[in-house]
């Protein structure tokens, strides 16, 4: 569509397969010098995988990459940096104990022999920061800066390397509106200098404001690349979502009873505040929103893994104060964490040992775990959830992701909680296991349990939940009933297109 000369980046037919999963399939992606090119898509659409291919972290399974017209092969991030590609990550990756100037020139400080030319470095850093319009003292210790200032230093670091292509991953997630406006001035300036800017964001309003072109990814495929003129937020959402809502998630019908868990205006003083919702017996309440909106933080705080600073939690009509997971379990709350590897399983233990972990004390007599009780407990759930292979003695990390997840859910059912909070329960499991997990959740609510399900996957939320709360920037919307639910509505609430 454009001359090769001004084509900064041309990725063709990029596929990336991980064992069992195709993360990218045949993606074409081209960016011109002197433009801002936005990349949008749902969580898991393949944006971050594509960027990791671009910065040399992943080698593509197939496809070619041209930078400035020349075909290149990148094996490590340093290769990408040598080609003039710089990444600005969403998470700040700087050295808090060094000064701003030292961070800007980290790994390439100016000097003679080993002697650091401090004056020169500070002067140059100050010039870069000034050029970017950032009022930051280059001598300041980085750790003393606010997060948004650190974000600007991160951008200054990339800019000071005089890149040809710069990738910004959700750069505004920690910036205020005012700071975002400043960032956009910087981006326009860089664009004017002919730098190719790849801008990844969930915030469609910002995309419309800054981008020249937009590429939509969905399920690992490139859906469309279009000039920004003539596209609307609603249309982008349609392209991002764009699937037929099929009935793969049959809604189980359960009798809905009294309110089991009610949280009122809770906040943790950092990542969320003023969050209120309730969930009733036999009901599945969906909690969704973009990554980083505060969903997981809400769940962890309710479960006592982090502290609430305000608001109240009511279980079965009784107000409870929870400072640790064991107090949460006593109050009748259970939580299946998002990071199964990190927080869910003890990998060196068997399925049986994992399942009985939360209720060991109940299984023990005079401190000794009753073997028969332990075994029959795991046998029950292995059978009920058809965990495969059906062997409770197998080490849990030998199981597939889906079966591990079933075991983690089983672990909590033994504790007989009144409310079960599931955080991304089907992430990274295959389609079959997903259906089984949904079936299990259906059974639980049929038995009168209250379930809160956190998920980024809209079809899952739409298919399974009775009501849905959408979170954005640490705030929660009022619950949407099934009648009010649509993918577009949720995306609009999540991205801030519609006020909560």
């Amino acid at each position: 569509m454009t001359a090769v000369a001004d084509c900064a980046l041309d990725m063709r037919g990029i596929s990336k397969t991980f064992p069992g999963v195709k993360a990218l399939s045949n993606v074409n992606f081209a960016v011109r010098f002197g433009t801002v090119h936005a990349v949008v898509g749902e969580n898991g659409a393949g944006k971050s995988t594509l960027m990791k291919v671009l910065n040399g972290s992943y080698a593509p399974t197939s496809g070619t990459i041209r930078v400035g017209g020349n075909e290149v092969r990148m094996r490590k991030p340093a290769d990408a940096q040598a080609l003039g590609i710089r990444m600005v990550h969403q998470e700040i990756n700087l050295v808090p104990d060094l000064t701003v100037a030292e961070n800007v020139y980290l790994g390439r400080m100016p000097g003679k022999w080993t002697w650091l030319r401090k004056g020169e470095m500070i002067r140059k850093a100050a010039a870069v920061l000034k050029e970017l319009g950032a009022a930051i003292n280059p001598r300041e210790r980085l750790g003393n800066l606010s997060i948004s200032q650190q974000q600007l230093v991160e951008i200054a670091k990339a800019y000071a390397a005089q890149p040809r292509i710069i990738v910004l991953d959700e750069p505004t997630s920690s910036l205020s509106e005012h700071e975002t406006a400043a960032l956009f001035r910087i981006l326009r300036k860089m664009r004017g200098e002919g730098i190719a800017i790849i801008y990844i964001s969930h915030r469609l309003k910002e995309v419309l404001e800054i981008a020249d072109e937009v590429t939509v990814l969905r399920d690992g495929s490139m859906i469309e690349t279009r000039p920004i003129e003539g596209i609307t937020a609603a249309e982008m959402i349609r392209l991002m979502v764009g699937r037929e809502v099929s009935n793969v998630f049959p809604k189980s019908q359960a009798e809905i009873g009294a309110s089991v868990l009610r949280v009122e205006r809770i906040g943790d003083g950092a990542s969320f505040r003023d969050v209120s919702f309730d969930v009733r017996a036999g009901e599945i309440l969906g909690l969704t929103g973009l990554v980083g909106a505060g969903r997981t933080e809400v769940a962890r705080a309710i479960f006592g893994l982090s502290r609430l600073v305000e608001g109240s939690v009511v279980v079965n009509g009784r107000k409870v104060v929870i400072n640790s997971p064991s107090e949460a379990v006593r109050a009748g709350i259970a939580y299946v964490p998002e990071d199964r590897k990190g927080d869910g399983i003890v990998p060196a233990m068997s399925v049986r040992e994992n399942i009985s972990l939360p209720i060991l004390r109940r299984l023990a007599r005079f401190g000794r775990i009753r073997r028969s009780a332990d075994r029959s407990l795991s046998a029950t759930y292995v059978k009920q959830f058809s965990i495969s292979p059906p062997d409770g003695e197998r080490r849990i990390n030998l199981l597939s992701g889906g079966n591990q997840q079933k075991a983690v859910i089983a672990k909590w059912l033994a504790a007989k909680p009144a409310v079960l909070i599931l955080d991304e329960p089907t992430r990274g499991v295959d389609v079959g296991a997903k259906a089984e997990i949904h079936h299990i959740i259906g059974q639980l609510v049929a038995d009168g349990m209250a379930v809160v399900m956190i998920s980024s996957e809209l079809p899952e939320i739409l298919g399974v939940c009775d009501r849905v709360v959408v979170m954005r920037d640490g705030r929660a919307s009022t619950p949407l009933t099934r009648a009010e639910l649509s993918e577009e509505r949720i995306m609009a609430l999540a991205t801030g297109e519609e006020a909560a």
Binding site: Q81, N93, L94, P96, D97, L98, L106, M109, W115, I147
Partner: protein, 331 residues
């Protein structure tokens, strides 16, 4: 909280000041040039080892084998005197320290294991070697006059050893604050992932840090042996806690990424003046041990209380997480 942060920031000055004031009140004739000179000489041994440890701690590592290397290097330098002469023997002694450090560094970087656990084992190895070589008996050197010369005070203030310590700590200060590798040490200790991504060779820095620490411990041991004209396999066993305490008093964090040479100077002076004051009062050695142990524990707890709040995002305490630095970093 605010108070704790302040106390933590100015702790070197506070503790040094307190030590001096209390000692002056309790010990008659404490504030004199001769006391200072004696204290400085006494502190120089701790100080030389502390110089090496400062660099290592900033890089997020630790070396517990310093005391054993101290003994081993001293023994070698004394034993070899008869064979090759005093100066070459001293140089070989220092080289033994460097080699010991290289062994530590190579094992930590190569095996990717926690430096605390690894140097605990090498401490045992080096200490056993010292006993092995000497048959657990002290060895004596050839020239008694040399130790007198080394013990002499110049300008009514410095012995050769304490002057060397002061010079080295000033050089270290310049190196840490004004050179590129010096700054990179901070980067490696503060955020290994970011350092690596920016192309800093963190493995090499960690390795060289261990070599440096070993060399300095060797130097301290050689000087001690020359001053006393003796090498003993039990030398330096009580130094480990005192050295770590001195460095931590100086504001260097066990978590890595933060520390300064001047702070270490202050910490070493604090521990030195404390030792002298207690020696003047004939307080037994084991009580002095209790004091350095208490200082170490209290300061580490203080550091935890201060740094668990207000820690910048993206930082990972290296030692505290029990994870070797070379494995650190996001994928």
């Amino acid at each position: 909280m605010r108070f704790l942060v302040l106390a933590s920031q100015y702790r070197v000055l506070i503790m040094l000041g307190l030590t001096l004031v209390i000692s002056a009140l309790v010990v008659p004739g404490y504030l004199s040039a001769s006391t200072f000179s004696l204290g400085l000489d006494r502190a120089a041994t701790i100080g030389l080892i502390a110089i090496g440890l400062t660099v290592l701690l900033i890089a997020g590592q630790i070396d517990l084998s310093g005391g054993a290397v101290f003994a081993l290097a001293g023994i070698v330098s004394v034993i070899l005197q008869r064979e090759i002469g005093i100066l070459p023997a001293a140089i070989v002694g220092i080289l033994v320290g460097a080699v010991a450090g290289a062994v530590n560094g190579a094992l930590v970087v190569g095996l990717k294991v926690n430096s605390l656990v690894l140097t605990l084992a090498t401490m045992l190895i080096f200490r056993s070697l010292a006993h092995w070589i000497t048959n657990s008996q002290p060895v004596t050197g050839t020239d008694i006059m040399l130790s007198l010369a080394l013990a002499k005070t110049y300008l009514e203030m410095f012995t050769i050893r304490s002057a060397l310590f002061i010079v080295l700590i000033v050089l270290l200060h310049a190196w840490l604050t004004r050179t590129i590798p010096g700054r990179n040490v901070f980067a490696v200790g503060s955020n290994p992932a970011a350092a690596k991504e920016s192309g800093i060779a963190s493995d090499r820095i960690v390795f060289l840090g261990f070599v440096f620490a070993g060399t300095l411990a060797g130097l301290a041991g050689v000087l001690q042996s020359l001053v006393t004209n003796t090498g003993s396999p039990v030398f330096g066993s009580e130094l480990t806690v005192a050295v770590i305490a001195a460095v931590v008093v100086g504001g260097t964090r066990l978590e890595g990424g933060r520390g300064s040479a001047l702070g270490t100077l202050g910490g070493v002076l604090t521990i030195g003046s404390l030792t002298i004051a207690m020696e003047f009062q004939s307080i037994p050695a084991y009580v002095q041990q209790v004091v350095s142990g208490l200082i170490l524990i209290l300061l580490v707890v203080l550091d935890r209380a201060v740094t668990t709040k207000g820690r910048a995002p993206g930082t990972r305490p290296a030692l505290v997480r029990d994870k070797p630095i070379t494995q650190g970093g996001k994928i």
